[in-house]
Symmetry: C2
Subunit: 118 residues, 2 copies
DNA sequence: CAGGATCCGTGACGATACTG
DNA sequence: CAGTATCGTCACGGATCCTG
């Protein structure tokens, strides 16, 4: 087998690996919608997210936010107000997801036309 | 409220809606990896996919392929060989996912660097 | 307001064996 | 080879109540 072919095959394998890495961080029902909300609206509080991310329960939101924070995608800021409020926003690294969010949104429009159109 | 502001808010809401539409079709552990494999390698048979999509069980693959076919993303072709073989490939509509796959892959590389780097 | 605690159902996902 | 059948597990996700 030629060197170029080997490289191509290995390229495929690592490509599939990084895709799975990404999906480990992003998969689930809520993570993309949460990130999309923060991406579109910027800084948001817990209650804002409850309202914005349609149908999510507080427990799930809490859990997903923790996961996203652990993966350095969002930043959590506690404000000293009374009662306390908490703000969430995308980190610089979280903002690098914007392209994915955009593509998913664009494709969603396309897909909707496809389904309705037939 | 001005007309432009209304449009912006409605734009956000519908944006989040189409994103959820897209996620309904794409979410889950396996769909993106399956599509990515078909995207990178073109036409594949059931066994090829079992090998390529690392760790998937036959039952899951079968189920996911059905779901993807229902959503018009892949095409299933039964060949009259002995024993029978089946080929799967992306439909034109399925190929419109290439941009998403690319972005996810690119981001996966970035994310890996981010995690290892710290 | 932000969330934790608790209880709970359902389905996603997995391993193995089997069939046309 | 391309699946289906069967059985089992566990975490996703939901509802409700509670607290600093």
């Amino acid at each position: 087998m030629k060197k170029k072919e080997v490289e191509k095959i290995e390229g495929c394998i690592t490509r599939l690996m990084v895709i799975r890495d990404a999906m480990d961080v992003l998969s689930g029902k809520w993570k993309i919608p949460i990130i999309a909300s923060l991406s579109l609206k910027g800084k948001m509080r817990f209650m804002d997210l409850i309202r914005e991310v349609d149908g999510i329960a507080a427990k799930m939101l809490s859990k997903e936010l923790m996961s996203l924070e652990t993966n350095l995608l969002i930043k959590r800021t506690v404000m000293n107000t009374k009662p306390i409020t908490v703000e969430y926003e995308l980190t610089p690294h979280g903002k690098t997801l914007n392209k994915i969010i955009k593509e998913i949104g664009d494709w969603g429009v396309l897909h909707r036309k496809m389904i309705i159109g037939k």
